[in-house]
Symmetry: C2
DNA sequence: CCGTATTACGCTAGCCGTAATGATG
DNA sequence: CATCATTACGGCTAGCGTAATACGG
């Protein structure tokens, strides 16, 4: 039986050619390597090196052994990787969402429900990535704007979100009781770039608008507060009530601007996540 | 980095389920295993076992780790096997022959030429096995009854062998100056079963004969000496001159009964085996 | 109680690093 | 003589086995 450290040293010798170089790379000493390689030959009962008095080189069989050593190390590393990955997965509850608002609701609930576990939330713009992730186990649950087929999935509606335009009071549309998205055509609109499906939705419905994207939420809020530009706001928001004094929220009448979010898991895992679903309600 | 002995112990635990059983199987102690498994968990930073006070069992991740451990051990064992196999090959000169006579000539020459190496001779009945073996490196050289294509192979004729029938003096054909194989039709013929292509040859040329096969050369000689039955003899034989008093050798006139043996190697290895070929001559 | 796992405790085999030696270009 | 491999030597750690402890069917 060849211990791992010797296999590693053999592979390194094939790569770095001299013991002194390997000693540097593996942070050990020349004598230690010299001895280990002798021990290796002894254990195998096979000469692996061409030796002259101050030179060592792998012979043909040594090269073969080194190639195999590399294979063993790969398996070794893959073992460690797979185990740590599995452990990480076991310690994190991972879900995906089509919009940010459901995450504000879900993550606190999950953190409390699965105490000690990391809750990982993944925001996506498109459904297919989420559904695929639910299928392959990347996500335990996902959040969409509609239920999935009852025979394979368990769905529960748990949140409404309704989009409004946030307009400067000076804006020509600011006095309207309601709007359609397309009426914002041609405007310069402030928008956050990480808002899931909303991003695709507004870009599709207002193709002629000029969107000013911002990644940082706090920065965006600052800009919205000061800039005389249209933006969006919804009923679901931590700081909903604190809307800027010089702005007015005008509801959007588009069907797609009023959504219900569904939390979805595989039917086979319905029992496993029963606690979560009973904590969710409209 | 996980040392091999721990990986082995993990795999064994998956197989044998309890530390005490593993301790027996691996010829070590319970405490050693207990510590090693704790060390393994420590190194990975992952809990691999469900523990109660006097019971240990692999958990889900532990099972995963054990499966990977098995893979690592396979690679490990394959490394050792491959290296030893390569070394054995390097220490043995292996050749194949279509008949036994060339081996009596070749093996002593090779033993002297490659001193310290084992000479392995392989007798085959058919050419294709030999040629394939020469191609894939199983044989360094092969012996056939004819040369192979000059562009790929180097051939050298080094031995004639001529088959005669060995008949009891009382036999009806014993007085004939020469014979054809087919004239032995219907006879009970003593024959050695390990004589390469000769075996197929005589069986094909004398389809109606009844062959009495014998594996042991010495036993066959004894039987030939005492039994009043036809057999075969060739000019190439260690005990050629000592033919039984009550028997007579009648030459066979079939073209196939008079062969020239060629020693053959790949053209690319012609230089490597130059010493051998120059030691061979008719 | 017997079988099991774990902890405690010396012991020592084995591996390490430093230093010395030898060879080579 | 700078560089490399090997040998020599003393130190020390990591893993071992025995024994003791603790738990469970």
């Amino acid at each position: 039986m060849i211990e791992t450290y010797i296999i590693e040293q053999l592979a390194a010798l094939a790569e770095y050619k001299t013991l002194s170089r390997v000693a540097e790379e593996l942070h050990t000493s020349q004598p230690a390597l010299s001895r280990a390689m002798q021990k290796l030959e002894g254990e195998l009962g096979v000469t692996l090196f061409d030796r002259s008095k101050n030179r060592i080189a792998l012979n043909e069989i040594g090269e073969l052994a080194a190639r195999h050593a590399q294979i063993v190390l790969s398996a070794h590393n893959e073992m460690i990787r797979a185990v740590k990955e599995a452990d990480r997965r076991r310690r994190t509850f991972s879900y995906g969402s089509i919009a940010p608002a459901p995450m504000w609701e879900l993550t606190p609930i999950l953190s409390q429900l699965y105490m000690g576990m990391t809750v990982s939330a993944d925001l996506q713009e498109t459904e297919d990535v989420l559904i695929k992730g639910l299928e392959n186990g990347t996500y335990s649950v996902i959040v969409l704007t509609h239920p999935l087929g009852e025979e394979k999935y368990f769905n529960k509606a748990f949140l409404h979100e309704k989009l409004s335009a946030l307009l400067p009071k000076s804006h020509k549309l600011a006095n309207r009781p309601a709007l359609q998205l397309q009426e914002l055509s041609g405007e310069n609109i402030l928008i956050h770039s990480k808002i899931g499906f909303w991003y695709s939705l507004v870009k599709e419905k207002i193709p002629n608008a000029n969107f000013l994207e911002q990644n940082e939420l706090e920065t965006l809020r600052e800009i919205v507060k000061t800039a005389e530009l249209p933006s969006f706001i919804t009923n679901v928001s931590t700081v909903n009530d604190a809307l800027p004094k010089n702005k007015v929220a005008v509801p959007l009448t588009d069907r797609e601007a009023d959504v219900t979010f569904y939390c979805i898991c595989k039917k086979t895992q319905q029992n496993e996540f029963a606690a979560l679903f009973s904590a969710l309600h409209l």
